[in-house]
């Protein structure tokens, strides 16, 4: 870490006038104090016998200091090598090296802060030299390379409702045709090309309702729905995803009907969802580690259509020993399908 920081600071000092139009003076006393505090004596300008230019030199140099010709950091997206063997910058190499500089591998803002304007640097050179000797050197702020996102893993927890069409559901719900659905999902996707992602995941959705059919009866319904899904997502702007989900899963339907006699039954159905939605997350630049951030959080809103294969409602109850053959009538098919939406919060690992 130290080597990386020191090397970066040096490189920034050399790059400063060409790479930045920032106006912050390199000789800021406060910054020096901070440098001193962070790096101690090591942060001071290297000794002349080490072959490096004296601290004021970059500021007083008529031309921008050259960056190391082979600096790996010049490659976009690559991390700065934390190597102390990076070639020391030399005044001779500067003219040739400068044009070959690509986009800075360093945090742009850090570079700007660390590089005074060329004119100011020339004018203030004598004073800066004096001050440099009197105060600790300016430390570089931490820099975070902009690591491109190649895959994402998300965990979401949320809730929503399903609105069922048809009168059959009202046998299990006195209030309305909506069922509240808590939902959790674990999903992952990978970048296809450009801003497009493709992935999938697993989720679990729960629902519950109850009613009093025929005045004095009791009925209740519980849905447990483990589902797997595919997701196609488009991220036009970092932090904004528009997605489409196609899900398939199992619906475990537990129901209780108590009409003079209590009956508890379990049925199975398959469930399919088609959702569209948007996931809004904090973009990297708003995060502490900025381009290097690997974790963010966000909100997910999806809406779509949910279909479950009809299940037969056929209450039955336990009979006495050796009963007469008993047939329990089917009340009909419970068909749970309709619009569904959910709102959730998620944490994303990139």
């Amino acid at each position: 870490m130290y080597a990386l920081t020191l090397n970066s600071a040096l490189a920034l000092a050399l790059l400063g006038p060409a790479a930045s139009d920032a106006s912050a003076p390199a000789s800021d006393a406060t910054t020096k104090a901070r440098l001193d505090e962070i790096f101690g004596e090591d942060a001071k300008s290297p000794a002349p016998d080490e072959g490096a230019a004296p601290a004021p030199a970059p500021a007083s140099a008529p031309a921008p200091a050259p960056a190391p010709a082979s600096a790996p950091a010049s490659e976009p997206g690559a991390e700065v090598p934390a190597s102390a063997e990076a070639p020391a910058p030399g005044a001779e190499a500067a003219p040739e090296a400068l044009p070959s500089l690509g986009p800075s591998a360093f945090d742009e803002v850090s570079a700007e802060e660390a590089s005074p304007p060329e004119e100011e640097a020339s004018d203030a050179a004598p004073e800066a030299a004096v001050e440099t000797e009197a105060a600790p050197k300016l430390p570089p702020s931490p820099v975070w390379p902009d690591i491109p996102v190649r895959w994402r893993v998300e965990f979401m927890i949320g809730a929503g409702t399903s609105s069922f069409y048809g009168r059959d559901y009202t046998f299990f719900d006195d209030d309305d045709r909506r069922m509240v659905n808590p939902v959790v999902e674990l999903r992952a996707d990978a970048k296809l090309a450009g801003p497009f992602y493709l992935g999938g995941g697993f989720g679990y959705r729960f629902g519950e309702s109850s009613a009093s059919p025929f005045g004095d009866g009791q009925s209740s319904l519980k849905l447990h729905e483990p589902r797997g899904f595919m997701r196609f997502s488009y991220e036009p702007v970092q932090g904004v995803d528009v997605y489409g989900d196609l899900a398939l899963g199992l619906a475990v339907v537990d129901y209780v009907v108590e009409l003079d006699t209590r009956s508890e039954e379990r049925r199975y159905a398959f469930v399919g969802d088609a959702l569209v939605g948007t996931a809004l997350s904090l973009p990297k630049r708003w995060l502490p580690r900025r381009g290097s951030s690997r974790t963010t959080v966000g909100l997910d809103f999806g809406i779509g259509y949910s279909y479950r294969s009809p299940v037969e409602i056929q209450p039955s109850f336990e009979l006495d020993d050796e009963p007469i053959s008993t047939d329990f009538s089917s009340f009909g098919k419970l068909s749970l399908h309709g619009l569904t939406w959910r709102l959730g919060v998620f944490v994303r690992f990139m």
């Binding site: 009168r167 009093s212 209450p315 009340f331």
Partner: protein
């Protein structure tokens, strides 16, 4: 189609936020019944305005829901035809706002599967009387319990149950309110009962009101009604009618009318009389009174030795009275015990068959039998008695030879021809009305206990089958060959067993069938 509509409507409401909610199962079940035909049990689901037919088969059953044909219509009542081969359903407006809905009587197949015959009957009648031959039904207001704000209490409708015509009329009486409808030619159930009046066959129905009676010919629509008033004193209120065809020395048919509070029986001779205005064939009645003494509780007619007798049972004197309706001469025979009701049967005496009078009374311990052959000339003939040890709670005539007597926890099978009284004892009181006869097998299913029993009337060997629940009602479905016992449960709970040999192995229980398909 409805599912597609639901789906389409559903897409229009986001997340259900704008969806109208219509609870479908909030109201308490409003189901009445059952009514039994010979093939099915029928309930009326008033909540959905549907008829629910439960049709038992050998190993399974069919539940058939059938809505009436008109929207805004509800079922007022339903009742089987006399032979239980069809179901009669009166439909009317669901409420007073359904002005376009008229009262209609529907005649449906026993199992509900098939087209209905419709009769426009014009009024929400509350009573139905069926003619003994099953050919006619008469709808009338049997009481004041009607929803109509204003109704004509003497409006009736005579429907042809073998055709599709309904004849609506108002009784042309003297202002009395109809209390009962009777078919006086009641000799035998299932047999036609027309009488010949002046060469024209007439099927007479009588409408009984306080102090008067109205006669209507059901076969001849053009014939005038005949109304007879029994004085102004109000002490003759018709309660029972009996029609005797002409013959036996009597030229005209005679209609006997009994009043519970009179010492006389009115005898109305029906005579041919064309309508005075139109000249259409009609009939009239001439009144005679037959003194029988106070306390007569039942009567019938019988010709013996060419003498037309009116036989009455007198509960007060405990005697049978025989009155020659030509001369009104009479004699009586002591019943030697309480007697309130009488009926006739045939008794084999060697190669001969003689008519026999059977009398009995609730609460008594004897059934009296009196041979009628030569009754007019046999001085000192006495009845014979069959002892019913525990007393008679109720008596059901099974066939010509056998009657069933309920007496608390004992059920007596009485073979009158053999003068054999067989007690069948149980732990619960038997209801002889919850019984049926399938050839020589007597089927019993008394409510309140969990047994269906059979008695082979040849060997009188009873066998019982234990049900899983107590019986609420017992039905015998002759066309299906099943006995069905319902149990106390609002959502449909019954047991079906084979009528000839009920056993748990062949029986089955159906539960919840009144809710079958309610979610669909």
């Amino acid at each position: 189609m409805s599912k597609l509509l639901n789906f389409t409507l559903g897409l229009g409401c986001l997340g259900g936020l704008a969806c109208e909610y219509a609870p479908a199962f909030e109201e308490a079940l409003d189901i009445s019944g059952p009514v039994a035909t010979d093939a099915a049990l029928t309930w009326v689901d008033h909540g959905r305005e549907e008829l629910v037919f439960f049709v038992p088969r050998d190993d399974d059953y069919v539940v058939r829901r059938r809505a009436l044909t008109k929207p805004g219509e509800r079922v007022l009542w339903n009742q089987p035809t006399l032979d239980r081969s069809e179901l009669l359903v009166l439909g009317g407006p669901a409420d007073a706002k359904q002005e376009e809905v008229e009262e209609t009587l529907y005649r449906l197949p026993a199992d509900g599967d098939g087209d209905a015959v419709e009769y426009d009957v014009l009024a929400p009648f509350t009573g139905l009387a069926l003619s003994p031959d099953g050919a006619h039904g008469v709808l009338y207001f049997s009481g004041t319990d009607t929803d109509a704000p204003l109704n004509n209490a003497n409006e009736v409708s005579i429907v042809d149950l073998e055709g599709s015509e309904a004849r609506n009329l108002t009784l042309n009486g003297f202002g009395g309110r109809v209390r009962d409808v009777q078919f006086p030619g009641r000799d035998a159930t299932g047999e036609p009962s027309p009488v010949d009046v002046g060469g024209i066959s007439r099927d007479i129905v009588t409408f009984l009101a306080d102090g008067e009676i109205v006669l209507v010919d059901m076969l001849n629509e053009g014939a005038d009604q005949v109304a007879v008033r029994f004085g102004d004193t109000g002490n003759f209120n018709p309660t029972q009618t009996l029609l005797r065809p002409a013959g036996g020395g009597v030229d005209d048919p005679a209609l006997f009318v009994r009043s519970a509070n009179s010492a006389d029986v009115a005898m109305l001779f029906l005579k041919d009389k064309p309508d005075e205005e139109t000249g259409e064939p009609g009939f009239t009645a001439s009144i005679n009174l037959v003194p029988v003494g106070a306390g007569v509780t039942d009567f019938l007619h019988h010709d013996e030795d060419e003498v037309p007798y009116l036989i009455t049972a007198n509960a007060t004197t405990q005697r049978f009275a025989f009155t020659d309706i030509r001369t009104q001469e009479s004699f009586d025979v002591g019943a030697e015990g309480p007697v309130t009701e009488i009926f006739l049967r045939d008794q084999a005496r060697g190669d001969l068959t003689v008519r026999q009078l059977v009398g009995w009374a609730r609460g008594s311990t004897e059934i009296h039998t009196l041979d009628l052959d030569g009754i007019g000339s046999s001085i000192g003939r006495r009845p014979r008695h069959l002892k019913v040890e525990r007393g008679i709670d109720d008596l059901v005539v099974l066939d010509n030879d056998r009657v069933l007597v309920g007496a608390g926890t004992v059920l007596y099978v009485v073979d009158i021809s053999k003068e054999q009284v067989t007690p069948l004892e149980s732990k619960a009181p038997y209801d002889p009305r919850s019984s049926a006869l399938d050839d020589q097998i007597l089927l019993l299913g008394t409510p309140g206990q969990p047994w269906v029993s059979t008695v082979d009337l040849e060997g009188l060997n009873p066998e019982s089958m234990l049900l899983d629940d107590t019986i609420a009602d017992f039905f015998y479905l002759s066309a299906a060959g099943k006995v069905v016992t319902t149990h106390i449960e609002r959502f449909g709970h019954l047991t079906v067993a084979d009528a000839r040999d009920p056993s748990r192995g062949d029986a089955y229980v159906a539960w919840g069938f009144l809710l079958e398909g309610i979610l669909d």
